[in-house]
Symmetry: C2
Subunit: 212 residues, 2 copies
DNA sequence: CCTAGTAGATCGATCGTTCGATCACAAGGG
DNA sequence: CCCTTGTGATCGAACGATCGATCTACTAGG
């Protein structure tokens, strides 16, 4: 709001405006002028911070993916139990997608990037996928999951978790946390949790050391 | 190919060209001229068959959805067993999305429609969703599924089945039918099939009356 | 004076759309 | 039979609007 805004704040404001508008109208359907108006800046300001419209998209997508990756890795940090690691990945992914559905443009606007930046962003997509795959594989190796096609199942879990943005909206009777817990349960069914005889399998609790 | 082409063929050719291009570049990223060139027709020909670019998108989306709905209803026709009906819905949905991934634009380009046609297309989206929901609910009512949140689970199944287009591509070692069978198994885990004591639960086979 | 940040005016290119002119073919009057 | 008329499908040329991008100029801090 204040006319005196640091460069970093202005760039962030522009990126958030871009995410919002591109989510609702698409990359080519959103003009530079739309974004500048939404961010309350002039056209030249936008080109001062981002060299071109394509660079704005590229940096915005990379930024959103880095944020998602950081959140997921942070949620897994310090968690040792294979089942809990898999569950934590699902939980944080679903909660983030419910809380900020407009960031799902990262999946639909990859096509608008030139080949080189697109490949760079796709590496990040695969890193997210790898979190699901590796945690599921670790659970299988540890004998906690019976799933017989872990790689394909991890793809399905990732797809299922990303698709919440297609139907979830606030005020539908479920909080993002509710959806997260539900999808943890669904994902564990896909992973085929192996029942532990004798000792109670230490019924899963919430985040062991919940630290934001 | 032949210069003498009936009007219907021309309209279909234009729609298929539109699907292909919009899938790879988006609605606003694809120009009328691109579509006309891809379909090997002039610009005026396109406007002769479709009154505007928006109408081309609208009719194309409705057409694709009607095709999907017809295929799904046809796959369920004559199937009585609740578990088989649910499985058949998953199978045909996944196979179709694997065979023609570019038709998934129907889910991403809804935003490019005006409010009225968008609402009309969304009705069709809900009809697809309703097939998953009703077959799952029927299975629960029949005691075949133990799933405790059927409506939310049906959303998850739908999302999981739609997301195959994000990773599947031909030549990956799996045929669309392979993926269909795998996702039937995954969906049945989400539905929590109730094991039947005593009588063998008639291990599911392929389509009762194998089609083509 | 210099640099960073901001803004409005403006450029050439491309957009969706419209227009007038063909082409093929079927029907009907002479 | 030929010739006119009508109709649906096709085409390239052109229009106004808007696009991404550039240019010049103003402001404030050091």
């Amino acid at each position: 709001m204040e006319p005196t805004r640091t460069g970093r704040d202005t760039a962030d404001t522009i990126q958030q405006a871009a995410i919002k508008l591109i989510h609702s109208k698409g990359y080519d359907g959103t003009s530079i002028r739309d974004i500048a108006r939404e961010a309350n800046v002039g056209i030249a300001t936008l080109f001062h911070h981002f060299g071109s419209k394509a660079e704005l998209l590229e940096r915005t997508l990379k930024n959103e993916f880095d944020h998602l990756l950081a959140e997921m890795e942070s949620a897994l940090d310090g968690v040792d139990d294979p089942l809990e690691r898999f569950a934590a990945a699902v939980r944080v992914h679903v909660v983030l997608h419910c809380e900020k559905p407009e960031s799902s443009i990262v999946n639909t606007e990859l096509r608008s990037l030139e080949p080189v930046p697109r490949a760079e962003v796709q590496v990040k997509v695969e890193r997210v996928q790898a979190i699901f795959t590796s945690t599921l594989l670790a659970g299988v190796k540890a004998g906690r999951f019976g799933c017989d096609r872990p790689r394909e199942t991890a793809r399905a879990v990732h797809g299922m978790c990303s698709a919440v943005t297609a139907w979830y909206h606030h005020g539908a009777g479920m909080t993002p946390q509710d959806v997260g817990e539900l999808y943890v349960e669904l994902a564990l069914r896909l992973a085929e949790v192996v029942p532990v005889d004798g000792a109670k399998p230490a019924a899963r609790r919430r985040r062991p050391a919940g630290g934001s």
